[in-house]
């Protein structure tokens, strides 16, 4: 339990990989995966004599992110070199931005239990990602994979405005949703395309001065971030209560033990020797360019939510869930456009689709089928072509092997039996086989009807139209 005489102060540096097709300084693909060192060229491998050329899309995407988070966009910006040695950094410097970032002074609003709260942003800047070291996979050494080297990143630096792990969680989810909406990053956390450096300190309530902070780098799951913050806050309070002091240091969160560990000793304090990148020209951004990008920004989640409530008459709760992910929201809108039944689409997303995603431990952006296909599914139910129990089976199929629901039910022979003659035949057969149930029903046991309908569904493998079955049984029993 966090003690209430302490206040927690957290600031975040979030790194998000931009979803441009090519890298930030060369034309290699940014695509995730691939055999090691296949998405590289002399430039991103830092062969002697090579030079960077800034990908204009990266600047555009970063400005988009800046505008969507209420930042001021710099008219003049530049790149700087951050110098340090590490095998995943082929040039021995990272091209980043130091004192003239593209975007400054923004904010993101989160909905806390105590109402809305603005989390201020210090800056957003562009930089290149490093490669990856594969440790211990091949004997004793480490191997360098430079596929990721030069993938564009934005770093979003917040003020220390966050006061709890819950606020951090809300902030990160909000940031993720914004970046998804403006389509600058796919924010796949498992692939590391969204990761955060978390700076945590504590101070006695009422203290003006910030406590000494520790930093946990490269966290890439919401759950670990929450756990790590909770652990670190308690650790810091314990140290202080025992009369100790907090060391300013970088910590590593260990998922297995649930503890933080010191990463490097203080002697190794890095001096990055930033200086302006002489191989690149200054970045000049015109008012016109900023306005063009502003106009191109898509509808943001808040506005969508309003629309769902007023136009589609959805409850606020449902609307909130739908807009929490751009992919869900797009799925909802696309399917609704197709079938014109927002309530039904919303229900499918909120219940069955969410359930399957949870079971599969997948993110909404991994949904394999299209919004059109979901819309079609709803139409088939609405037209009475399939029952809702068949529909669930169709949905499973859509997850396994996405194709048109119409095609699925044809292939599987799942079309609902709504032919009166056929239904009557089944009803007769079931009644003949269950004289006891008829007797029960006549004796006033209404449950018997349910049993008979169930038997008929079983007989038809769920394909009989349930309403018609019900009606016909009643007619026969009441004869």
């Amino acid at each position: 339990m966090i003690r209430d005489d302490y206040e927690v102060v957290i600031g975040l540096e979030v790194h998000s990989e931009l979803s441009t097709k090519t890298k930030i300084f060369c034309s290699c693909p940014t695509e995730f995966g691939g055999e090691p060192n296949t998405h590289c060229c002399p430039i991103c491998m830092a062969m002697p004599g090579t030079l960077p050329v800034l990908n204009k899309k990266v600047v555009e995407y970063a400005i988009k992110a800046g505008l969507a988070t209420n930042c001021t966009i710099a008219k003049n910006s530049k790149n700087d070199r951050k110098n340090y040695f590490y095998p995943d950094l082929p040039k021995s410097y990272q091209i980043s931005q130091f004192d003239m970032p593209l975007c400054t002074n923004g904010y993101v609003e989160i909905d806390t239990a105590n109402g809305p709260k603005k989390i201020r942003l210090v800056r957003i800047h562009i930089e290149e990602d490093a490669g990856k070291l594969n440790h211990d996979e091949y004997g004793s050494g480490s191997l360098v994979d430079l596929n990721r080297a030069g993938v564009p990143l934005i770093e979003i630096v917040s003020q220390p405005d966050l006061r709890s792990a819950e606020e951090v969680d809300l902030y990160l989810k909000k940031l993720k949703s914004i970046l998804e909406y403006i389509e600058v990053s796919d924010c796949k956390m498992q692939q590391g395309s969204l990761r955060a450096d978390v700076n945590v300190s504590v101070r006695k309530k009422g203290d003006e001065k910030l406590g000494t902070r520790t930093e946990m780098k490269n966290m890439n799951s919401f759950r670990s971030i929450t756990r790590a913050i909770e652990y670190e806050v308690e650790r810091q309070i314990e140290v202080l209560e025992a009369g100790g002091t907090i060391e300013q240091e970088t910590l590593r969160w260990d998922e297995v033990s649930g503890k933080t560990f010191s990463m490097r000793d203080k002697e190794d304090a890095q001096d990055y020797r930033y200086f302006p990148e002489p191989d690149l020209a200054v970045i000049n951004i015109s008012e016109e360019m900023i306005e063009d990008i502003r106009k191109s920004l898509p509808e943001m989640p808040e506005s969508r939510k309003e629309r769902y409530i007023t136009e589609f008459k959805l409850p606020e709760y449902d609307s909130n869930i739908l807009i929490s992910s751009k992919y869900l929201s797009d799925l909802f809108e696309g399917a609704t456009k197709k079938c014109n039944n927002p309530k039904a689409v919303s229900n499918w997303i909120m219940t069955d689709i969410t359930k399957i995603l949870n079971e599969k431990e997948q993110e909404p952006n991994e949904i394999p089928f299209t919004a059109e296909q979901l819309g079609e599914l709803v139409i088939l139910i609405d037209k009475g072509t399939i029952s809702s129990s068949i529909a669930k089976k169709v949905l499973d199929e859509l997850f396994e092997n996405p194709r048109s629901p119409e095609q699925i039910i044809k292939e599987k022979g799942w079309i609902q039996i709504s032919d009166e003659g056929a239904i009557k035949e089944v009803v007769q057969k079931i009644l003949e086989a269950n004289p006891n149930s008829i007797a029960d029903y006549k004796a006033g046991k209404d449950r018997a009807l349910g049993y008979l309908v169930g038997q008929a569904m079983k007989e038809t493998k769920g394909k009989a139209n349930p309403q018609m079955l019900n009606k016909m049984f009643l007619e026969e029993l009441n004869k």
Partner: protein, 486 residues
């Protein structure tokens, strides 16, 4: 007359008249290299035998330069041929790609005779800092050829190649050209693509021609200029034809002579010859005035701070991980870095990396790097003011003629003074050209430097051509290949 004695424009004339073939040209140079290389030691890698083979398949229809040989300073990347930067660090390095300038030469069918020696990573002014060999000055084999493009200058002066590419960060084309009695041009920063030039100081480096005469200089400049999308600092303007500036006329041109470059530290005989050349310009109708560039006194300090800062970062990639020299003596990652770099780099390179790392360090950045950048801005402005009045400036290229091998290589500060007249031009990004303007009493060549407005190489070529045609240095003076004291 041997073919190797000709300039490139003379070779082209004979090729056009079908008097000679590319193969004959290559054979002539190969023979000359065979004869002179043992005493000059200009080559790191010879490709003259391959050049003879290539010359057999040259298509003269495609380009009038097809089958013309060239020498390349060993810091320009050549696919398939080693690019060593005269460093143990890259002793066996073969680039997977061609530098943009190399692509341009290849497109014309120009054939390389080899890669030429230099000070390690272009850091030095005598080519004595090569990790492999000491190149000799053809005018006196006991003296240095200058540097860092000393291999290129010595190879051209000894006619082992008809022309060569050099690179110039603080004088590395102009100073060796002066010391070897030939023509060298450092183009305006941004005129020639740096893609594929192994970086020393990114904001100063430029590739340029080292040639026997001004006409060849204009021709080679034509071949290597042009916007390159792969170099963000390359200027995007229409290409010029510099041979149009081969005009024998300087009438009415205004020449400024900054007095700071004719004062202390400049050898008397050098001063005298440069002043004589200035008189020649007057006779030809140019208007000459003394002027002042105070700030030039700070230029060496500014240059060594910024150039070393950039170098310390640029040379970080030589870490023993992906290519180049790796120590055999390591137990962990830190050892690999430390020992590979300690063993792979020479003393001068290490000196500059340490200096550069220091001036960028927190606590020193403002006092050194930032201040140097401010002075750099002032220097640019001061030059701009001079160019409101003058069409170009004249200074000596080097404070002295070629000196005895070994006399300065142990004293870095004295070595740095060799760049006194040339670094300002790099700091301001201007074009600078060196042409021979006489010999001293020992017969050693003296060069004068013409400094122009940004992207006004035309005026420099015109002025250089006018002087050259009048004085005919090349006809009157030849390298003697004499040994010390002879």
């Amino acid at each position: 007359m041997e073919l190797y004695e000709l300039t490139v424009h003379e070779l082209i004339e004979k090729l056009d008249k079908k008097e000679i073939t590319p193969e004959e040209i290559m054979k002539s140079y190969s023979k000359r290299i065979e004869e002179k290389e043992p005493e000059i030691a200009a080559f790191v890698t010879r490709t003259d035998k391959e050049a003879i083979e290539s010359a057999k398949n040259v298509n003269r229809e495609k380009s009038k330069f097809a089958g013309i040989p060239i020498g390349i300073k060993d810091n320009m990347c050549t696919k398939g041929v080693k690019t060593t930067c005269s460093s143990k660090m890259l002793e066996n390095f073969i680039s997977p790609y061609d530098a943009t300038v190399i692509e341009k030469l290849n497109d014309e069918g120009i054939i390389s005779l080899g890669k030429l020696n230099m000070d390690e990573f272009a850091m030095g002014a005598s080519t004595e800092y090569s990790a492999f060999k000491i190149t000799k000055n053809p005018w006196n084999l006991s003296t240095v050829p200058g540097g860092s493009s000393g291999g290129s200058a010595a190879a051209v002066a000894s006619q082992m190649v008809p022309w060569a590419l050099g690179s110039d960060t603080g004088g590395s084309i102009r100073q060796p050209a002066a010391l070897c009695g030939i023509v060298g041009l450092k183009p305006t920063y941004g005129l020639v693509s740096r893609y594929g030039l192994v970086a020393f100081a990114s904001s100063f480096d430029q590739i340029g021609p080292i040639t026997q005469d001004v006409e060849d200089c204009a021709i080679l400049l034509n071949l290597i200029t042009g916007h390159d999308e792969k170099d963000s600092t390359s200027i995007n303007t229409p290409k010029k034809d510099y041979t149009k500036s081969l005009v024998k006329d300087v009438k009415g041109l205004k020449i400024g002579v900054p007095k700071e470059f004719l004062g202390e530290g400049i050898n008397e005989e050098v001063k005298e010859k440069v002043l004589e050349a200035i008189e020649e310009y007057k006779r030809k109708g140019a208007i000459v005035e003394e002027c002042s560039l105070d700030i030039a006194n700070e230029a060496l300090a500014v240059y060594y701070i910024i150039a070393c800062a950039e170098a310390s970062s640029n040379l970080g990639r030589f870490d023993g991980i992906r290519y180049g020299y790796r120590t055999k003596n390591f137990e962990n990652l830190k050892d690999i870095y430390k020992n590979s770099r300690s063993e792979g780099f020479g003393a001068e390179v290490k000196r500059r990396i340490i200096l550069g790392t220091y001036v960028l360090s927190s606590g020193y950045y403002d006092a050194y790097y930032k201040k140097a950048q401010k002075v750099r801005t002032i220097l640019k402005q001061e030059f701009a003011k001079l160019f409101e009045k003058y069409d170009f400036l004249i200074t000596p290229t080097s404070p002295s003629v070629a000196y005895e091998i070994g006399t300065k290589s142990t004293n870095p500060l004295e070595m740095y003074l060799a760049d006194l007249c040339t670094v300002s031009v790099n700091i301001a990004g201007l074009p600078g050209m060196s042409i021979p303007c006489g010999v001293d009493k020992n017969g050693m060549p003296i060069g004068m430097q013409l400094i122009g407005k940004p992207f006004d190489e035309e005026t420099l070529i015109r002025a250089a051509y006018t002087y050259e045609q009048e004085v005919k240095f090349r006809e009157n003076h030849k390298p003697t290949f004499r040994k010390a004291g002879a």
